[in-house]
């Protein structure tokens, strides 16, 4: 499978996901569903890597992407904004997407997968809530929470279909992308829950910035090393590394600027 074919497949699944959650009012007033192509790549990685694949598995992969979109929508609900139409509909967008994933899996008679995803959502919600609890003080706890928030849904999909061998690689890449986004946010002077927790633990934004850069550098090394342990085709490996290239460039650029 060449790069173009991988792109096409991801785009085709992305279109299906967007079509499944399409709703006129939500489309008009909210930012729309967040469907990350990097996540879609990892959801489809077993297919790209020639594993046994079926329409049912692909349908499940789409629902995982929809759950990510549902949780992402709820992450966008702000504290300090009163009930604006956009905010109200963003709340409902998340609930609506949740209904859609449930319906899609129910229609496919895949009740066990509904349960798996529900369990994963519980874990993700618990980890997100932990940031508000103020009970996370240690850096490894923050890292572990971020890892689980980024990967729990994908992990439940992999485990359900016996694709767990891809988890170490996917986990590294998805957390790499997350830390890259956080560093970008910090450099822009933005605030996020993760940045707040890191600042609190590391005591200074400059330390947070340094820590994020070091983390990205070490994750990048890990990704290269781990990818070598997989018997992926050259095209697939190359495609995957391209996923993180924009983030890597940004990180390198930011390191130089720093």
């Amino acid at each position: 499978m060449n790069e173009q074919q991988i792109h096409s497949k991801i785009t085709s699944v992305e279109i299906d996901v967007l079509r499944a959650v399409k709703q006129r009012t939500l489309e008009k007033f909210t930012e729309g569903p967040s469907v990350q192509r990097e996540r879609l790549f990892f959801l489809l990685l077993p297919f790209f890597d020639q594993n046994q694949w079926s329409d049912d598995i692909e349908e499940s992969a789409k629902t995982v992407s929809i759950v990510y979109a549902a949780l992402h929508a709820h992450d966008q609900v702000k504290q300090d904004i009163l009930a604006t139409k956009k905010q109200q509909l963003t709340v409902l967008a998340g609930d609506f997407y949740s209904g859609i994933y449930y319906q899609m899996l129910a229609s496919a008679n895949n009740i066990a997968m509904i349960q798996r995803l529900a369990t994963a959502i519980i874990k993700v919600s618990e980890k997100k809530a932990a940031f508000y609890d103020g009970n996370i003080y240690k850096i490894d706890e923050i890292e572990q929470s971020i890892y689980q928030i980024e990967t729990e849904l994908l992990s439940s999909f992999y485990h359900f279909y016996g694709f767990e061998k891809y988890m170490p690689l996917a986990g590294l890449v998805l957390t790499y992308i997350r830390y890259g986004t956080e560093l970008e946010c910090l450099q822009r002077g933005g605030q996020s829950l993760v940045i707040r927790m890191l600042n609190q633990t590391l005591r200074h934004p400059l330390h947070t910035e340094r820590w994020l850069k070091d983390k990205l550098a070490s994750l990048y090394e890990d990704i290269l090393w781990t990818a070598d342990n997989y018997a992926l085709t050259y095209e697939l490996k190359n495609f995957m590394l391209h996923q993180i290239t924009p983030h890597q460039h940004k990180a390198e650029q930011l390191t130089r600027e720093g």
Binding site: Q23, T25, L26, A70, L71, H74, D75, V77, K78, Q79, L82, A83, K85, Q87, Q88, L89, V91, L92, G94, D95, F96, S98, G99, I100, Y102, Q103, L105, A106, S107, N109, I111, A112, I114, Q115, L117, A118, T119, I121, I122, S125, E126, K127, K128, A129, A130, Y132, D133, N135, L193
Partner: protein, 321 residues
């Protein structure tokens, strides 16, 4: 008389459901645990689990099976409430601070997601595609109803059909599904399932209309929130739709819609609606749904469950808060 007194026949089962609900919201996150319990302990009529249990009495009733539907349906309702309070920016529910007021919007979002996921985790122990098809469709329709409600906000000139379609999705469908799924998992025959689904739908419509009436006719204390909250939030409910035919009231409503009202202004609107014929007109529409609900009940075999359902239906039609 309190609604809960009507449930005396199924009190032991309801106590069990209450315990199960507490266990269901148990979380390794102390924050989610506290927020969910806060919501759970604020109380509620538990009308959905009640209808699941009563509907189950028309089949082969087994409380261990029934609770697998009753608990998640109440959890789904709870999850929608905690998110609704973010949507409406509500500080108080049932006389207690809302989750968003006690903590913040994000905690309310995670609590709702957590409770909804717990509901799905729980109900998927039942391997019935038909049940999940009904429930997932209902959940989507409830959301659509809420989306439409936001679209229709502050539109004083909407028609009755818009309102009825909205409350069908917002309230009636989940009550209807409670009855339908309760009957379904107990193995009741198709005809019974159909009558119970329709009963739930009609009673749900009547229930919501009465709720909308009480928003004007009850005191702040009885409601546990300011009377006229629907109007303050721009929700055009049946009493308003009935009252607006009076040109003076129409002008009053239009002038005050989508404004920050003082307590005095709010109470003036509440009083005006309360003293208008709109309340009785709205009650008459509720009565019509109630009659239809009772007609469906009459098609079901006689017994204690039917009697309790009838009593609840009458109570809903006459309830004061």
């Amino acid at each position: 008389m309190k609604l809960k007194l009507l449930y005396s026949d199924i009190k032991p089962e309801l106590d069990l459901i209450e315990q199960e609900l507490e266990q269901a919201v148990d979380s390794e996150s102390p924050l989610l645990n506290d927020a969910s319990l806060h919501l759970l302990q604020a109380g509620g009529k538990r009308i959905r689990p009640v209808f699941v249990l009563l509907a189950g009495k028309f089949g082969n009733y087994n409380v261990d099976v029934m609770k697998q539907v009753a608990v998640p349906l109440e959890l789904i309702h709870m999850a929608s409430l905690v998110h609704d309070d973010v949507i409406d920016d509500s500080e108080i529910r049932r006389g207690k601070p809302t989750v968003k007021a006690e903590w913040n919007n994000s905690v309310a979002m995670y609590t709702g997601d957590f409770i909804l996921a717990r509901a799905l985790e729980y109900i998927t122990d039942i391997d019935s595609p038909r049940l999940h098809h009904v429930l997932s469709k209902t959940m989507i329709e409830v959301c659509r109803g809420e989306i439409i409600q936001i679209e229709d906000k502050y539109k004083l000139d909407q028609n009755l059909r818009d309102y009825l379609r909205r409350i069908k999705r917002k309230t009636a469908l989940l009550i209807s599904s409670s009855c339908e799924l309760g009957a379904m998992v107990s193995g009741a025959d198709e005809k019974t399932v159909r009558h119970l689904r329709k009963f739930g739908y009609y009673i749900g419509m009547s229930f919501q209309i009465i709720d909308d009436i009480l928003d004007f006719t009850s005191s702040d204390e009885e409601l546990g929130k300011p009377a006229g909250s629907d109007f303050l939030q721009g929700n055009i409910t049946l009493p308003i739709l009935c009252a607006r035919s009076n040109p003076e009231i129409y002008r009053l409503l239009q002038t005050n819609l989508n404004k920050d009202l003082t307590d005095e202004e709010r109470l003036r609107i509440v009083q005006t609606i309360r003293n208008s014929p709109a309340i009785n007109e709205a009650k008459a529409i509720s009565e019509r749904y109630l009659s239809k609900a009772l007609k469906e009940l009459n098609e079901l075999p006689k017994g204690p469950a039917r009697k309790t359902m009838r009593n609840i239906a009458f109570f809903i039609g006459k309830r004061k808060f």
